[in-house]
């Protein structure tokens, strides 16, 4: 559970809904979402402005630099938007080294504008940073020196005093409106447990602030108190990450349990697979395989912790083993079942597979757990090397690599 990016469509939906609640003012933004299952005719019926105004369409996939990559189309009518979407929906693009299909578009009224303001709020340890610039838009990075930032300590609110450094240079005609706008956005940021919010740019329509482009991140650990305010919120995977059925199965398990179960396939053909207990230790196991130069052979990242129940571990282990054995190619494979010395997780679990298995674990009852693993190895005739806390934690990684290279 952590900071999660949300789609632009959802950012704007939350903004519009709660702008009204918090300020009493209507924010006149409109947006519609198109995904593969969207019925275009139904959408127009629900959002009649789509057929009456000129439109902007862009992918809503958590990546930026869309304008610079030619993925934004301006000043279209709805038929042209539909055509634009049809041409690109499901097509793979490459953004910042990540490849993936475009599955979601956002459509909005086309707003011809002159002013492009930049606004950014980031949650930090001791408060929130709020940044503003009169020179926003796609060249913001070139104009980074014009961005002004103030830091609002936890507990303080945005006042005319502390916001003044951001907007001092604005023309008086717009200053009041923008000050008010910043205050409302800051309130929404805090009220909805945003951890990051960016508008690049927002402009003025009839003298009123109007966000054109928006990015948001929510703290999903706050879901329990915000489920009403957030409504039907989606936390999409980062662009380029498509969850396999096994990954989404574990993801589902993770969401249901009080423990933590993480599983990411890195290379389905990999020959070193891991199933490591503990958030800290799991990272170190992956590091060690990388340090030894066998990162490409690493099949997965897997972590379970927080005292999962026995049947949860069993289901989890089944998935790891299914994935690890899904692509047999005659070469040796290794499963590394590792972990640090547990604080409270009882160590009498785990299951087996058709490969070399390396186990290292310590913690309550570890002697019995490890003895069972050894006995199991003998019983089913699979080589299992078992170590307790007397061995170094990551030593088994080296062994696993020796195993797969010996026969390679």
């Amino acid at each position: 559970m952590a900071r999660k990016k949300i789609r632009e469509y959802d950012s704007k939906r939350l903004l519009k809904e709660h702008f009204k609640r918090i300020s009493g003012q209507e924010l006149p933004i409109k947006s519609a979402q198109i995904i593969e299952s969207t019925d275009i005719n139904e959408l127009v019926e629900k959002e009649p402005w789509l057929s009456s105004s000129k439109l902007v369409v862009k992918p809503d996939m958590l990546f930026g630099k869309r304008g610079k990559s030619g993925l934004v189309a301006l000043n279209l009518d709805f038929a042209e938007v539909a055509g634009f979407v049809k041409e690109r929906l499901g097509k793979e693009v490459e953004m910042g080294g990540c490849k993936g299909p475009i599955t979601t578009f956002i459509v909005e009224p086309f707003i011809p504008h002159n002013e492009e303001y930049y606004l950014n709020i980031v949650s930090e340890r001791l408060g929130n940073s709020i940044s503003f610039s009169e020179c926003g838009g796609i060249d913001i990075e070139e104009n980074w020196d014009k961005v002004k930032t103030v830091f609002i300590p936890t507990g303080d609110s945005l006042t005319s005093e502390n916001v003044s450094a951001l907007i001092a240079t604005l023309p008086l005609e717009v200053k009041g409106e923008i000050e008010e706008f910043l205050k409302v956005i800051f309130n929404i940021f805090q009220d909805l447990d945003f951890t990051f919010l960016e508008m690049n740019p927002f402009t003025l329509v009839n003298g009123k602030p109007y966000p054109l482009d928006m990015r948001g991140e929510l703290d999903d650990t706050a879901a329990f108190k915000n489920f009403k305010k957030w409504g039907n919120i989606e936390f999409p995977l980062p662009f380029g990450r498509v969850m396999s059925s096994t990954e989404s199965f574990i993801h589902g398990l993770d969401e249901k349990t009080s423990a933590s179960l993480k599983f990411t396939v890195l290379n389905p053909m990999g020959r070193i697979w891991t199933m490591v207990a503990g958030g800290g230790a799991s990272v170190i196991y992956a590091d060690t395989v990388g340090d030894l130069g066998y990162a490409p052979e690493l099949g997965n990242y897997a972590e379970y912790s927080g005292a999962p129940k026995e049947d949860e571990v069993l289901q989890y282990a089944r998935v790891v083993i299914d994935c690890a054995t899904a692509n047999p190619d005659g070469q040796k494979r290794a499963l590394v079942i590792g972990g640090g010395i547990a604080n409270f997780t009882d160590e009498q679990k785990l299951k087996e597979a058709n490969m070399h298995i390396y186990v290292r674990r310590g913690g309550p009852n570890y002697q019995r757990g490890l003895a069972k693993m050894r006995a199991l190895g003998e019983e089913i005739g699979i080589p299992i090397e078992v170590y307790g806390p007397e061995a170094t934690m990551t030593g088994i990684c080296k062994q696993a690599i020796q195993c797969i290279t010996a026969s390679a």
Binding site: K225, V283, D287, S305, N343, T394
Partner: protein
């Protein structure tokens, strides 16, 4: 943030949200260290008060339980650590009220998933009021030989193995709780051990940071070197880099930031910890390791080499004569918990209860070895369940049907019999169902309802000894004993009890033998010559027929039959049956909203 020691050998904590195991582990650690007072002064369990029994060494102690944080703080003003085992939903609110207690200095939050904005409120409050927050999402921390938070350092075996029962010279801080335990082990292998270890938790914004604790360790004279285990994500390590650069840390620091593997993943991966997210170069493990190395920390080339770096740094301190040798002692033996010792096969203990009729431990409950599902699937009735639970065997259907008939016949006998009357009076006194039921049941005995057993006993005895009805009845008369099962208040020779006829008809049709009933009928024939109303009554019919059931079914040995009659099974049949009626009477009175019953004066003879 405080600047030096947080804990000592006399530190006491308040423990929020009662959890038996972590508290017991704290107390076991206390005992191991030779502490004189337990480290948990009080427990807060919202809404409940009293005491919890826990072990302090061999002895049991009672730790006070309070309903509120305020009450606990007031009762234990010297307890300055608050250990919060609340769920992620309530951890923030309870931690804030703990921080607001003037007597609380350190709050450790175990829950994972505390909202970031809530954690920030706690951080701001703690900073403004010079208090310390450890966590959220942490196992806690330990000062070797002095004080331990919750589950930190795991089992007693591990604590002994890592020599955490006495202070060493190394200050250790990490994000990960699991890894802190691993490092206690590593550090114990290559140095004189831990002085203090803290896991700050895996969240994006921990209540206290790596550098907060490093700076604190720097001020503790007993800490000679500092070991730091960081993690990719966030910029916490950079405040440590700054502190190192500014020369604020004068003791050697050995550091490693894990997560170098993140570069292997093309897109963002959320690792196990919320704060561990592969972000920009600044937040990468490589970037942080490099920055720490440049700032003067000892940074190994990989995690594998971490232990060696720690050893080398410690060995240099020894050469420089900076390490005072640790006074070793053998910690006392902690008595093992019985349940654990039994599990590991070290001891055995006799059980105190034996049970043979049912077992609720498996997938589904079993009655006399028959699982619930087959009881339902085979269409068993109440009679079959009684045969399983009372006689521990499946009796043939005619037998269980006979049992059911007996229950139906005896379920009620109107409101005027003593049992029903008592139940009605009790129900009308406003008592609950169980009180009303048992007040009725308590009248069952030698005069009311107890005759079935007696009838069975006497008929069996007389029949088995071959007494003629004449010998039997006259023998009883001589002894002054009424013949149970014979005689009725209103029924007579010409107007026999319908229930008796029904039972006899059923038995004649289905039972292989009805010899005891025939004997009872012969007795009745004789008694009817003495008086018109000395008919075989329903008790006598059930009693005698039950003897036929036991003997005729061929499923009971002679000893078993004797035992069943002796123990008084048949009385059980009456109690069970009549409970149905008594419950009905209770409901009836309640439904009718009947007032308190008072017997009229006119109906009592007042006399000397």
């Amino acid at each position: 943030m405080a600047t030096g020691q947080l804990f000592s050998r006399t530190t006491q904590a308040l423990f929020y949200n009662y959890k038996q195991l972590p508290i017991q582990r704290m107390l076991d650690f206390d005992f191991l260290c030779g502490r004189e007072t337990p480290s948990v002064a009080g427990i807060i369990n919202p809404g409940s008060e009293g005491f919890q029994k826990l072990f302090f060494g061999q002895e049991e102690i009672a730790i006070p339980v309070h309903a509120t944080i305020e009450a606990a703080s007031a009762a234990h003003p010297t307890a300055d650590v608050f250990i919060n085992f609340a769920s992620f939903r309530s951890a923030a609110a309870s931690s804030m009220s703990a921080l607001k207690q003037p007597t609380i200095r350190v709050v450790a939050i175990i829950a994972e998933g505390v909202p970031e904005s809530d954690a920030k409120q706690l951080i701001a409050y703690a900073r403004a009021n010079n208090k310390v927050v450890i966590g959220p999402a942490t196992v806690g921390g330990i000062q070797a030989g002095a004080f331990k938070i919750g589950d930190t350092a795991g089992t007693i075996d591990n604590i002994i193995h890592c020599k955490l029962y006495r202070p060493g010279s190394v200050g250790f801080v990490s994000k990960s709780g699991g890894m802190s335990n691993e490092l206690y082990n590593s550090i114990a292998r290559v140095t004189d051990g831990i002085y203090e270890g803290i896991a700050i938790g895996g969240d994006v914004f921990p209540g206290s940071t790596l550098s907060d604790h490093v700076l604190r360790f720097n001020n503790i004279p007993q800490v000679k070197m500092i070991v730091v285990l960081g993690e990719l994500g966030g910029r916490d390590e950079y405040s440590l880099v700054e502190a190192l650069k500014q020369g604020k840390v004068t003791k050697p620091v050995v550091a490693w930031v894990s997560g170098t593997c993140a570069t292997l993943f093309k897109s963002e991966v959320q690792f196990g910890h919320a704060g561990a997210k592969s972000g920009g170069d600044m937040e990468s493990a490589q970037g942080k390791n490099q920055a720490l190395r440049e700032a003067g920390a000892v940074v190994p080339t990989s995690y594998e080499a971490f232990e060696t770096s720690i050893k080398e740094t410690f060995d240099k301190l020894i050469e420089a004569g900076k390490i005072t040798p640790v006074k070793e002692f053998t910690p006392p033996q902690i008595p093992e918990d019985l349940s654990f010792a039994i599990k590991s096969g070290k001891v055995r203990a006799p059980t105190h209860i034996i049970s043979t009729i049912s077992d609720d431990r498996g997938e589904e409950p079993c009655y006399a070895g028959v699982p619930m599902s087959s009881i339902i699937e085979k269409g068993f009735g109440v009679g079959d369940v009684i045969s399983l639970l009372w006689f521990k065997r499946s009796l043939p259907r005619y037998c269980t049907q006979f049992i059911e008939i007996c229950i139906m016949l005896c379920a009620d006998h109107g409101p005027c019999v003593s049992g029903a009357h008592n139940t009605i009076v009790t129900a009308r006194a406003g008592k609950d169902l169980v009180s009303s039921l048992v007040s009725g049941l308590l009248t069952i005995g030698p005069r009311f309802g107890g005759a079935i057993d007696d009838a069975a006993r006497y008929f069996k005895d007389a029949h088995d000894r071959g007494l003629t009805p004449y010998e039997f009845v006259e023998g009883m008369k001589k002894k002054g004993i009424r013949v149970a099962g014979i005689g009725h208040r209103i029924k007579n020779r010409d107007n026999k009890d319908k229930r008796v006829e029904l039972l006899q008809k059923f038995a004649r049709t289905h039972f292989p033998s009805v010899k005891y009933m025939e004997y009872a009928v012969q007795v009745e024939t004789y008694t009817l010559t003495k008086a018109n109303n000395l008919v075989l009554n329903v008790d006598g019919a059930i009693g005698s027929l039950f003897l036929d059931l036991l003997a005729g079914s061929g499923m009971f040995t002679k000893q078993e039959i004797d035992e069943i009659v002796e123990i008084g099974y048949l009385n059980g049949l009456f109690v069970l049956a009549r409970s149905i009626g008594l419950i009905g009477h209770t409901f009836d009175q309640k439904r009718l909203k009947q007032p308190l019953y008072r017997h009229p004066w006119e109906d009592v003879l007042y006399t000397k």
